[in-house]
């Protein structure tokens, strides 16, 4: 035959399919400065819009005078709520079932809130116009503490109370107070209380997971262009979910969905920041309709940090019970969730606190109860999943801290305690007390591998010696050994329980094979740096036997891509990756019929082999996928339509549950509070591995974002509701200088329900990394009596901890 010299291994390798570290196809453009981000878009006559923002966190607006601004050269229009009200666009729905002001409607609820939208010929003229808009404010009492909010007479949201002042029902049921948003309960309340009341040992702890921000390097922005001739609106923007944005824009604007084209060009990082819908999008669309010209809106860094999509801000209170020898019997968790002025969390509708109910973690906990209260305050709205799946970061931090606190209570080694309580391999699929069914896992194997890799016993011996040396005055540095075993829940999700605004969270892939054996595949997701154009082509290469290099992957254009819910919550591989495999299998099924016809045998007599169909028992008789592709377009095959295309909409039967074992070894200088990460070992099990190079890159990046959150990054407010960390001067983003090298490792436990067994990995390192860094800090001070100190563990806070423990005496 023509390729006799080529071995099967050669054929596999030439596909660059799953499992190989294929170099990224995206990089040629990006390394040469030829990316196409939204701010790179330049259209004829394009205008620039920008916001007048509130300097106050809570104030009544008594007057807005735009007349001077309209005199500023280059300013074309100034929009206020009064202009949007006749269109019904002064408020918009949030993803959480609440509504949010597009432009301040009589009052403002947080510092930086959008008050007016100035449209000008360029960004300088817009800035001049903003300066000239005169807004009169009447300050109102500011509440930045959710516990105070629940006690206060001050009504933050008059639109959510009845005439008698009582709170009307919210999107998630009755509300307890006018500043209360929802109560969400999960699990068995009374049995949990009983188990804890009768337990041999109970550990109790409160912790605050501080407010922070995803802060992608590219801020949010869009370009809206209304073509009044053909009635079509095109909206380019930093959208992690372009199709959902199209549907939302259609619902709130009344423009029919087929007349809206949403395009996500290259996106400079998302991390959850770019999931939601923001006032800038609505105002740009309105401004384009009003002016008849394209309008661009791009946040600056302060706008981004102060107003769009914060993350976390969870006050968590836990009780964990166990037997004297460390077997956990029950877990109780209460969360007071600060949602800011509007509930704009981006969670599946039925989960107002996201998947916080994964908070039993990697442990076999028979009885548990979770209760979350959402609260309004005078802070920016958001509550997005910053590099995690819907509040999973909070859940994993909670349980991994509770385990450490229980270990202290039991006077037990924290690794040993974990091993006693891990869900065992044979227990999968495992039904957790708070409702989830974990698909697969082998926690003990992963944990043992990790402990061996870092020489855990050796580290503990070294730590013991260090403590003695410290007490003897021989050193001023302590050694912390941070442990974490996390279980994630990603891949939202099954349509039966996962939707956002009624849109089921399936995803999609459409494939067209060209006659010469190359292909294009389009998906409902959108890459923000994850390398989809590289990895999805690898999945297809393995499924359909055409080289990845011959497959174009396209995402982000709603006129061409099939409907999907986008990329966030590590859902692309679990959901769209599955759709890709399933669509590939449809291609293969048709290819089998074509091959059988060409080889003049029955369909069942041929089988797929890497890049071809061969006649069973006669491997010298075959047709390559390339030959089959051509035949699909030039042969009249009885009973088979011409062409070779497929589409798959994949509704996952379950979530996927990646897991991992992390260890952080940290040196802490007790006199300066300076931390030095000596070693960080990360073992991840994300099921089937598609591209090891990209997985490793995701882990490095996620760990670095975890380091940032754990050790310094926060959105802090003062009592007046002023944002104290609104620029990169104050908001900590680690540089190369602060970041260690990481050791990565893996085990492979495929997902049994996913077509290729992949679970997703993008967010695991962040979810597992934050508690691991934090546990290292805590562990360093455990011998001196520390139980809990809140993040971020910056130098000052660590110094203060050391001081409070009397280590400076």
């Amino acid at each position: 035959m023509k390729d006799e010299a080529v071995t099967r291994e050669d054929r596999v390798a030439s596909l660059k399919g799953m499992g190989c570290s294929r170099k990224r196809v995206e990089d040629a453009r990006f390394t040469q400065g030829k990316g196409n981000y939204v701010d790179d878009i330049k259209l004829d006559g394009m205008l620039f819009g920008d916001f007048v923002r509130s300097p106050y966190a809570h104030a009544k607006i008594t007057n807005i005078d735009t007349s001077a601004a309209m005199e500023v050269p280059g300013v074309l229009a100034v929009l206020t709520a009064a202009d949007l009200a006749p269109l019904g666009l002064h408020w918009m729905p949030t993803l959480a079932g609440d509504k949010q002001m597009v432009l301040a409607d009589g009052k403002v609820l947080f510092q930086g809130q959008e008050v007016a939208f100035v449209v000008a010929e360029d960004r300088y003229a817009a800035a001049d116009g903003i300066e000239a808009v005169e807004v009169e404010y009447e300050e109102l009492p500011v509440i930045v503490d959710p516990f105070e909010a629940l006690q206060s007479d001050v009504v933050l949201r008059p639109d959510t109370v009845g005439e008698d002042g009582s709170p009307s029902d919210g999107a998630h049921g009755p509300r307890k107070h006018h500043n209360h948003i929802f109560t969400w309960e999960c699990g068995d309340k009374d049995p949990t209380e009983q188990v804890i009341a009768n337990a041999e040992v109970v550990a109790e702890e409160s912790m605050y997971y501080h407010r922070t921000h995803p802060c992608p390097l590219e801020t949010c922005g869009c370009v809206a262009s209304m073509d009044k001739v053909n009635g079509k609106l095109t909206l380019w923007g930093t959208f992690q979910a372009p199709h959902a944005i199209r549907t939302v824009v259609s619902l709130i604007s009344g423009i029919e969905e087929h007349n809206i084209r949403v395009i996500s060009p290259d996106i400079g990082g998302g991390f959850g920041n770019k999931v939601g819908a923001y006032p800038g999008y609505v105002c740009s669309v309105v401004a384009s309709i009003v002016t008849g010209k394209p309008v661009k809106w791009i946040e600056d860094r302060m706008d981004n940090l102060m107003t769009t999509a914060f993350a976390r801000d969870y006050w968590m209170k836990g009780r964990i019970s166990a037997t004297k020898d460390g077997k956990i019997t029950g877990l109780h968790c209460h969360v007071t969730a600060d949602h800011g002025g509007f509930d704009a969390c981006a969670d599946p509708t039925k989960f107002p606190a996201g998947f916080m109910n994964i908070c039993t973690g990697s442990y076999d906990i028979p009885t548990a109860f979770l209760e979350v209260d959402g609260v309004y305050t005078n802070k920016a709205p958001g509550g997005v999943s910053y590099r995690c799946s819907f509040r999973v970061t909070e859940a994993v931090y909670f349980i991994e801290r509770m385990i450490e606190v229980l270990a202290i209570e039991l006077d037990m080694d924290a690794s040993e305690l974990r091993k006693i309580n891990f869900i065992k391999k044979e227990q999968f699929p495992y039904k957790a007390a708070l409702g989830w069914e974990y698909d697969s896992g082998d926690y003990h194997t992963a944990w043992d591998k990790a402990m061996k890799a870092v020489d855990y016993d050796g580290l503990r011996a070294e730590q013991k010696q260090r403590i003695e040396d410290f007490k003897a005055g021989k050193t001023r540095k302590l050694l912390g050994i941070g442990l974490t075993h996390f279980t994630e829940i990603v891949g939202a999700g099954p349509v039966k329980n996962c939707d956002i605004l009624g849109l089921g969270m399936f995803d999609s892939c459409e494939i067209r094979i060209h006659p010469t054996g190359s292909a294009i595949a389009r998906l409902g997701t959108i890459s923000q740096g994850q390398g989809h154009a590289t990895t999805f082509a690898q999945i297809l290469a393995s499924e359909i036997g055409l080289p990845a290099d011959s497959i174009t992957i396209e995402e982000g254009d709603t006129d061409t891509a099939p409907y999907g819910l986008g990329t966030y919550g590590s859902r692309s591989t679990p959901v769209a990756g599955a759709a890709t495999a399933m669509a590939g299998r449809k291609i293969r099924a048709k290819a089998q019929m074509i091959a059988a016809y060409l080889l003049e045998v029955h369909d069942d007599d041929v089988e797929f082999d890497v890049d071809r169909f061969v006649v069973k028992g006669a491997p010298e008789k075959f047709k390559t996928m390339k030959e089959i592709a051509f035949a699909a377009y030039n042969q009249a095959i009885p009973g088979v339509e011409p062409g070779l295309e497929a589409v798959s909409y994949y509704d996952p039967p379950n979530m996927t549950y990646p897991f991992g074992a992390y260890v952080c070894v940290m040196e802490i200088d007790v006199d300066t509070g300076v931390t030095d990460i000596r070693q960080f070992y990360a073992l991840d099990d994300c099921g089937t591995r598609i591209n090891p190079m990209i997985i490793e890159g995701q882990i490095h990046g996620g760990l670095t974002e975890a380091l940032a959150v754990a050790l310094g990054q926060e959105i802090a407010y003062d009592d007046m509701g002023n944002v104290k960390t609104g620029t990169l001067m104050d908001f900590f983003l680690p540089t190369a200088w602060e970041v260690p090298n990481y050791e990565t490792d893996h085990t492979v436990t495929p997902s049994p329900h996913h077509p290729i067994g992949a679970k997703g990995v993008g967010e695991s390192p962040h979810v597992g990394g934050v508690p691991c860094f934090s546990n290292a800090v805590h562990d360093a001070f455990r011998a001196f009596g520390l139980r809990q100190t809140n993040m971020p563990h910056d130098h000052w806070r660590i110094w203060r901890t050391a001081n409070e423990l009397g280590l400076h005496d």
Binding site: F30, G33, G35, K42, L217, G529, E696, G701, E705, A736
Partner: protein, 164 residues
């Protein structure tokens, strides 16, 4: 709005004249007037380095320099470092070693690294990390960026040696 003036710049080897208000920041002149969109805007306070260009032999953050200050200066952006026909070794190395993800920081990162390798032709890891600390990446955790720069340094040095 203030009066516009004419400024003469040398960008990527070509002399260009632009008309701009003196307050216009160089990054906007590059991106919006000259369509050089490789350098990006990430913070507008000199912290992130996405806008890094080389001006008269020094790494400069073009988001905090007025176009007026760039009058008569030689400016190199990522577009001037290498293109499809002849990539800069750093452009090759970043791809080879997965030194980028979303790509937003990459032009500034590579432009800065190109200067670093002129300042220190054979840098240690510590020197790379210190020398690149003005450029923030949110995706990679820097490990592969360091690897890429090391590899490019080796490549450049080997080419130099071969030429001698």
């Amino acid at each position: 709005m203030t009066q516009k003036n004419q400024y003469k710049l040398n960008v990527n080897g070509q002399t260009v004249e632009v008309t701009a208000e003196p307050r216009e920041l160089l990054i906007y002149t590059l991106r919006e007037q000259l369509n050089i969109t490789g350098p990006h805007i990430g913070c507008e306070t000199s912290h992130c380095g996405a806008c890094t260009v080389t001006i008269d032999g020094k790494s400069v953050k073009s988001c905090t320099m007025f176009v007026a200050q760039a009058e008569g200066k030689e400016i190199t952006t990522i577009e001037g470092l290498g293109g499809p026909d002849a990539l800069h070794p750093l452009q090759e190395a970043f791809k080879e070693h997965h030194g980028l993800q979303c790509g937003y920081c990459t032009p500034g990162m590579i432009t800065r690294a190109s200067k670093l390798l002129e300042e220190i032709p054979n840098p240690t890891e510590e020197e790379i990390r210190f020398g690149m600390a003005g450029n923030i990446c949110r995706c990679t955790g820097y490990q592969n960026i360091v690897k890429s720069i090391k590899a490019a340094a080796a490549e450049i040095n080997a080419a130099k040696e071969a030429a001698q």
